[in-house]
């Protein structure tokens, strides 16, 4: 039962991260389309921001795996 709830928690965390990273990706694509000359800067910033969001989601997932 607790394991099942933990799995649901992990899924919920992924929803949040998915929305966040999706937003980053879409905005980065828009920005690249507008200014293709700064594609390098945008890409590295995009990965940085995605990593920050992913960190929050991963903490939730790890907690949901190990809290039994």
């Amino acid at each position: 039962m607790t394991g099942t709830l933990a799995a649901i928690g992990a899924g919920l965390a992924v929803i949040g991260a998915g929305i966040g990273i999706g937003n980053i990706g879409s905005k980065a694509m828009e920005a690249i389309a507008r200014q293709p000359e700064v594609v390098g800067d945008i890409r590295s910033n995009m990965i940085l921001m995605a990593a920050l969001i992913e960190g929050a989601a991963l903490i939730a997932i790890i907690l949901s795996i190990f809290v039994k």
């Binding site: 039962m1 099942t4 590295s44 990965i47 940085l48 990593a51 991963l58 790890i62």
Partner: protein
């Protein structure tokens, strides 16, 4: 009035449109949750029955039920023996210490391992269970010298914790869990003995260090011998990566002082990248899941935190303790938050790398487990073949993703460390 409604509709069009997706999604979620809960309850009762059956009885009866979760955690965990193939293991030196007993030095092959990395011998009260060394923690077992043991069983206690038992002369003896210094999060914990031996992860780290040393030495030599010529061979592999980290990470984040931190950033990038790539190989000399080990990422994160805080200038500490341009009441809230941030930053650094690599490995093992799940642990050949047909493309896909993740995570660790150091050494600006 109708105009107002039209404006409202136009403004909230996106939300109204979203409702179409949200309602079926919630329905699906509720149905899924119900099935999961029912399934969970059923497996739970099955487990407790199993436990009461095993309790009190000491025979080498093997439960041939396949558990993909346990199998996955066994494969990503650190081990005292390095599995080569079949029943052959690479001997690794083990230095064990138990208070009141002193040091014991042995090679991991002294345990005479056969199936699944379980040894058939007990030496000084130590046994090898599933590739990790454990110690007998019960009266009556011969704690000196070498004795033959029959087998090992798992015992599930009422609160669901699994402990191992060794069977010696038809009697059960409880085993301590294996030692680990991650506080028991990965199922270990500090127990009655300490293991200072060279584990699989240590072996893999030394291997990565040697590979990197020879690659960089070769690249450095060709800078002297091929002066003025186009890069070739190893140099042509190392140079673009090196230049990428210098130009995209070090210079933008650290500014003019980048040269001081460049060796550290390069070490951390190539070390993590090398270990990620070695960890992707499913067989010897790979298969050591080093960057997916919490202790390793903890040390990497602590080093990053120390470098950040020791290179922090006056401006950095002022922003932590006494944020300029902020009213006094806000400072009472902001300072604790900033102080917490000092610890949360390295913690996320640690968890991000660990979780990404661990998750990738677990997913691969679960995909491979499909063969055993569909084949009912080897009883059903047709099911195994079906599982295999499904598992191969899925595993291939996941491995391709992991190859990307190996590079991205090394880059992310590097870029985040650089951004933390960059924030710490930043000079004062007047725009507050």
């Amino acid at each position: 009035m109708s105009k107002f409604v039209a404006i409202l509709k136009k403004r909230y069009k996106r939300i109204i449109r979203m409702k179409k997706f949200v309602v079926p999604f919630i329905c699906l979620f509720v149905i899924m949750a119900n099935t999961f809960i029912v399934e969970g309850a059923e497996t739970h009762t099955a487990e407790t029955e199993n436990a009461t059956h095993n309790h009190g009885e000491c025979s080498c009866h093997h439960e041939e039920k396949y558990d993909p979760g346990a199998s996955a955690f066994h494969h990503i965990a650190d081990a005292n023996a390095f599995h080569l193939f079949g029943d052959y293991y690479l001997p690794l030196p083990c230095l064990l210490y138990a208070p009141g007993k002193g040091f014991t030095f042995l090679m991991s092959n002294d345990f005479d391992m056969h199936h699944h990395g379980s040894g058939t011998k007990a030496i000084d009260g130590y046994v090898m269970v599933h590739g990790s060394i454990m110690r007998v923690n019960q009266e009556g077992f011969p704690m000196d010298g070498e004795v033959e043991v029959a087998c090992y069983t798992e015992k599930t206690s009422e609160d669901g914790k699994v402990t191992f038992q060794v069977i010696y002369e038809e009697k059960c003896y409880a085993l301590d869990k294996k030692t680990s210094y991650d506080g028991g999060i990965m199922g270990g914990g500090v127990t009655s003995f300490y293991d200072f031996g060279m584990t699989k992860n240590v072996f893999t780290m030394i291997l990565a260090f040697l590979i990197l040393f020879f690659l960089f030495r070769k690249a450095a030599v060709s800078y002297i011998t091929r002066k003025g010529q186009a890069p070739k061979g190893v140099q042509a592999v190392i140079e673009p990566l090196f230049e990428f980290i210098r130009n995209e990470v070090a210079i933008p984040f650290l500014g003019s002082k980048y040269e001081k931190y460049l060796p550290y950033l390069m070490s951390i990038f190539f070390f993590i990248l090398g270990l990620n790539l070695i960890g992707q190989l499913p067989f010897f000399p790979g298969s050591g899941n080093v960057t997916g080990n919490l202790s390793v990422t903890l040390v990497l994160a602590v080093i990053a935190a120390l470098i950040t805080n020791f290179s922090g200038n006056k401006n950095y500490w002022q922003h932590v303790f006494n944020m300029p341009g902020v009213p006094l009441p806000i400072k009472f809230i902001l300072t604790p938050v900033e102080l917490l941030g000092l610890f949360i930053k390295p913690m996320t650094l640690m968890l991000r790398l660990f979780a990404n690599i661990t998750a990738g490995h677990i997913v691969i093992i679960i995909f491979v487990s499909l063969i055993f799940i569909f084949g009912q642990a080897g009883e059903n050949l047709g099911g195994s073949i079906l599982g295999g047909v499904m598992a191969v493309p899925l595993t291939l896909f996941m491995m391709a993703i992991e190859l990307l993740v190996a590079f991205v995570q090394a880059f992310v660790f590097c870029i985040l460390t650089a951004s933390y150091i960059g924030a710490a050494i930043e000079e004062h600006h007047e725009h507050h």
